[in-house]
Symmetry: C2
Subunit: 668 residues, 2 copies
């Protein structure tokens, strides 16, 4: 094996650094070149050396002798730093001095240490170092003091990212005597620090991987967090059969998982020369092994490939009724390899069910650029049924496109009509009405309202809708990166009450066994009395006017058991739909593979909470969600309550205020 | 007794209403006149009558027969309402129909009930009714659904206050079988409703008083909440020795306490004619008794008198260093009957300690309009010591006032000097330096910085400062009305990170036995090395420059045991000061009576939390607070963490982010 060999073009890009062990090595462009020759992408360095430490120690000794509780220190000296500005700086990760005790209970020590930290960060910023690692708090009792200092230095240091160095899990033996081992204690520390620091976007994690891995729950928990550095000490390696250092299967899986985060965390190898290790390998053999792993990463799934770049990226849902879509938007959706196959299957099944000699009127409403028209033609051919096919489209540009298609591709078999489906008035009845109006939460792009509006055209005896029904599903999740993004949008007071379409990546489902609740369902066509009653009356009084759309209001309350403590940042929403018969679509992570594997057209929806809700072990979450209907729009409201159970009784631990997307509702 | 006799001018103003029992009484100006003749200030009425109820019932029956889940209803009819606009409307409290079940699990019932409620509120608004009472939720499980409807109607109904009718305590027997009796369950319901409704300022309480009162904790809890109506059913009364209805001592105390709320809650008497009661009195005898109680309320305390109108009213602390105060501001402070007596005592004690033949140099720094100059002269006379008295004042207007005083009142005994105390350079040493620079949190108006700046003038051997020391004290509190006020200041992003001076009235100390923690102390004069070190070095580097004021930074962490669940809205802050010897000042509620009873110069300080922290029974709160010093200002930072104890171990339940008043810091 050769560390220099170019990696497979299909392999992921991993940046691997050498975590240098000595604080007295001065870093230069040459150091970087030497490391690059060996195959490293980056190196680490302490910002200051032992000269600085000696000075600080002397100051502390003198000041303590004078019984001082504070002491001002001078800034850094040329002989006290290990690094200087230069082109190589972008490949350097800085480490703040780990001996600084700015969370000390001794006010002299904490005062001097805080100044020293500020000098180090200020100098690192001057040099252009973009990432500085700071050792986590020494004492659990002092986490909030530690966090307060971090919050201060975050506002004092310019643009550098500060990475808090924490172990993936604390060793059971490190717990105070008499305490039960708490596998989430290191995560608790991190959660406190970043909460106190208001989810600052420049604050992230340097996670040290232990030789012995904790439960999967702990590893999944960290995956939801902003890991910027994964630190692999040589102690995590064991010899493989040929005597070279290798990682266990579990460690490999961890690395595969964590390197799926975006941005991809840097991997730092450390202690390769450590003499204290029982087994000692050639220092470079660790790097060679990690490069080998990199080349042999499992290939990306369809969804991963398609979603690349979209992970945890917030989009506001489409408003196809109010806006006309661009051609490129259609093109993106038409690329789905699964969705249109499912539609074709459903249409064929529906046609198969019809009398062989019949002539079936089929209409694609909201035909867009025509993918469903194409599938309907194919299904008709496959089933051997005669159809009259109509394509209804309100977007004038897509209409032109459909006309061209009909002339060039469909041999004029299709009647193309430019109309909003809700005002289309054909002189005949439609037997099969095909639409693709579903949003990430099923009904959130107003499919119910559109299909109500067009139901008039459907044959009252036996006319069917494809989709026949769809349902909305949700579950509370922890998603700190998304929360950080939303809470940084300070100038947008509605940001925290808007449902977003987002490819959820760094998140955790908090409910036991990943339970997802089915909220409500819509079926088409509706019984005629429901529809006529609603359209006949159209409200006027404030608060009552809903344009006769009452019957499309929904509400749902669900209880979720949460076994492990965490933070609720919002609700993940999915949908399922029965197109026809047993042909279904699903975006639920637990049913998508069974119902519509590799379907990529929809990312989940995310309903945020303005203020994260902290929940303890073994609690319950009650979630209420409403689909509200008004005269001109549809919106959602949601509220989350946390309960503890004690002695068979439930106690309310907290409740959010009512979140409402009314200001950003979907327009009809 | 006569209900008409004018009440004692010293008696509080109570508005007493007659809660009329029948929904079929139509209210007119004449009805009001009749009630007023009897001695009532107001009446209540249902907004709709049984005609409306019959219509709604019929609609529900028909719709249920058709298996509908929704049904639009028509607006109110002339024959369905009990009230019409008119001059009398300001004395009418409306009641929404208590039979409406908008929190029903049956979606038809909830849909129809919600429309009916909206019609009632809309009509009440049209008539000009300012307060509408709505019965609380029927089912505990549906509180958040109930709250969501209230939130909707709050935004739909114009300006009326909505009052949720709840019992002061639920009867133990009303608990579901097997459940432990939970004395806070009714409060829990309220807390959920107002949290979901975002502490809407138009949402308050109509509290029904039971015959059997719960623990004091429950009654205190409600006192912190916005009670707008106190409902006294006749069942709370028992016969007194002469056979007239009377309230128990505890009920009387409750009424005394609750009527101290501002605005004063309305008192509604109900069921005076109820035939089902064992004892039946003449209906008016209840009113006569309450008017009697009103006349016999205990007189207001000094603090109550002085603070009238200031209850729960937020003020930003003074910035006496940056601004010059107005004469009226001085006048308010000079009115304190206790504070200046204490200063005089302290000065006399300090003079007594000096040699009888000595000539003592006394300086009042920040003399203002001269109250301490006057007290120093009196103390000198009383102690028989000769003094040379200097009055230093930077405010040019107050300086003029001092000169006039010296000429007219003090016989030229005082040397008046116009100077900032920090730049005063006398050619002699001062023996006793007197100042009154304390703020509500002790050091928050920069007393430490000012006294540091003037310490140069003090005699290094034996010179003293009055005050000799002062300390800051705090405790976490529940204060929903104050939180509502702050969170309504939406355009001020700093509103929730500003410490306010406020006469705390509707609040509850959450800690066990009202524990208040002493945070830190300042003493004067400082040892010379502390001062010289600090002033010699003056920082330059960002984040480090603090103008040599490091030694006045402080931090404190304290743990508070919280026995009963609640909501933390912020920290109440107080101070204590040793002026000299055993002469002290205190604003702590538990020590003020011992140290400086009836002192009115300082209201407490309040450090808010941006987001209220819900805490369960038997939890612990860790509070960290910092006094931060910068080059040009001083500010506070604070963070609150909640913990549960289980099996001897502590689990973090939640943590706030770091609050900082840096943007609103006190300028030097």
């Amino acid at each position: 094996m050769d560390a220099h060999q170019p990696t497979d073009p299909g392999a992921p890009i991993w940046y691997i650094g050498n975590h240098l062990p000595t604080p007295d090595l001065t870093i230069s462009g040459q150091t970087l070149e030497d490391e690059a020759t060996q195959g490293y992408d980056m190196i680490t360095t302490f910002i200051t050396n032992t000269n600085f430490r000696s000075r600080i120690n002397q100051i502390l000794l003198n000041a303590a002798a004078e019984k001082r509780t504070h002491m001002k220190i001078d800034s850094l000296d040329a002989e006290e730093v290990t690094v200087h500005p230069g082109d190589h700086i972008s490949q350097v990760i800085g480490f703040a001095s780990p001996w600084l005790e700015f969370d000390s209970d001794d006010s002299l020590v904490s005062h001097v240490s805080k100044q020293a930290l500020l000098y180090e960060l200020d100098y690192a910023g001057f040099c252009g170092i973009g990432n500085v690692v700071i050792s986590g708090p020494r004492r659990k009792e002092n986490v909030s003091q530690f966090a307060q200092v971090i919050n201060t230095v975050l506002s004092a240091s310019g643009y550098a990212h500060l990475l808090i160095l924490l172990p993936l899990a604390e060793k059971p033996s490190s717990a105070v005597e008499g305490d039960k081992y708490d596998e989430f204690s290191a995560w608790d520390t991190w959660n406190t620090i970043r909460t106190v620091c208001k989810y600052n976007s420049r604050l992230s994690l340097a996670l040290q991987i232990p030789a012995e891995l904790p439960t999967l729950h702990v590893m999944d928990r960290w995956f939801a967090e902003p890991i910027r550095v994964v630190l692999l000490p040589s102690s995590t390696f064991s010899p493989n059969p040929t005597g070279y250092p290798a990682l266990s299967k579990n460690h490999q899986a961890l690395l595969t998982k964590y390197t799926k985060q975006r941005p991809t965390p840097y991997i730092l190898l450390s202690d390769q020369r450590a003499a204290s290790e029982k087994v000692r390998y050639e220092p470079l053999s660790y790097l060679v092994y990690i490069r080998h792993l990199q080349k042999n990463q499992p290939p990306q799934s369809t969804v991963e490939k398609y979603g690349s770049g979209y992970q945890d990226y917030l989009q506001t849902p489409l408003q196809p009724l109010a806006d006309n879509l661009e051609s490129i938007t259609y093109e993106v959706f038409e690329k789905d390899p699964v969705k249109y196959d499912q539609y074709e299957k459903a249409i064929k099944l529906a046609l198969d069910a019809r009398d062989a000699a019949s002539n079936t009127v089929v209409a694609v409403v909201g035909a867009g650029r025509g993918p469903l028209v194409f599938r309907a033609l194919r299904a008709a051919q496959a089933s051997g049924r005669a159809i009259m096919l109509f394509a209804i489209e309100k977007n004038p540009n897509a209409y032109v496109h459909l006309l061209r298609h009909n002339r060039d591709t469909w041999n004029g078999q299709v009647t193309v009509i430019k109309s909003d489906m809700r005002s289309w008035n054909p002189p005949f009845a439609v037997d099969i009405l095909i639409s693709e109006l579903l949003g990430s939460f099923g009904d959130n792009e107003l499919s119910p309202e559109c299909l109500d509006g067009v139901q008039r055209v459907l044959n009252p005896s036996g006319g069917i809708s494809i989709p026949a029904s769809y349902s909305a599903h949700f579950t509370p999740i922890m998603a700190p990166k998304i929360h950080a993004d939303i809470s940084s949008r300070k100038n947008d007071s509605e940001a925290a009450e808007t449902p977003y379409v987002v490819m959820l990546q760094s998140f955790e489902i908090l409910a036991e066994q990943g339970y997802i609740h089915r909220a409500w369902e819509f079926t088409h066509p509706l019984p005629p009395n429901v529809l006529s009653d609603s359209t006949a009356l159209s409200g006027g009084l404030i608060g009552l006017g809903d344009g006769g759309n009452n019957h499309n209001a929904r509400k749902c309350k669900a209880t979720f058991k949460v076994p492990r403590r965490g933070v609720v940042h919002g609700l993940a929403g999915y949908f399922e739909s029965v197109l026809y018969g047993d042909v279904e679509l699903s975006t639920r992570p637990d049913t998508i593979d069974m119902k519509s594997k590799d379907m990529i057209s929809w990312f989940p929806i995310f309903f945020p909470l303005k203020t994260p809700l902290h929940v303890p072990d073994n609690c319950e979450l009650d979630v209420c969600i409403w689909r509200q209907t008004g005269e001109r729009k549809v919106w959602y409201e949601w509220v989350v309550e946390a309960f503890a159970r004690s002695g068979g009784q439930r106690y309310r631990l907290g409740v959010t205020d009512l979140h409402s997307s009314k200001q950003n509702g979907c327009l009809m």
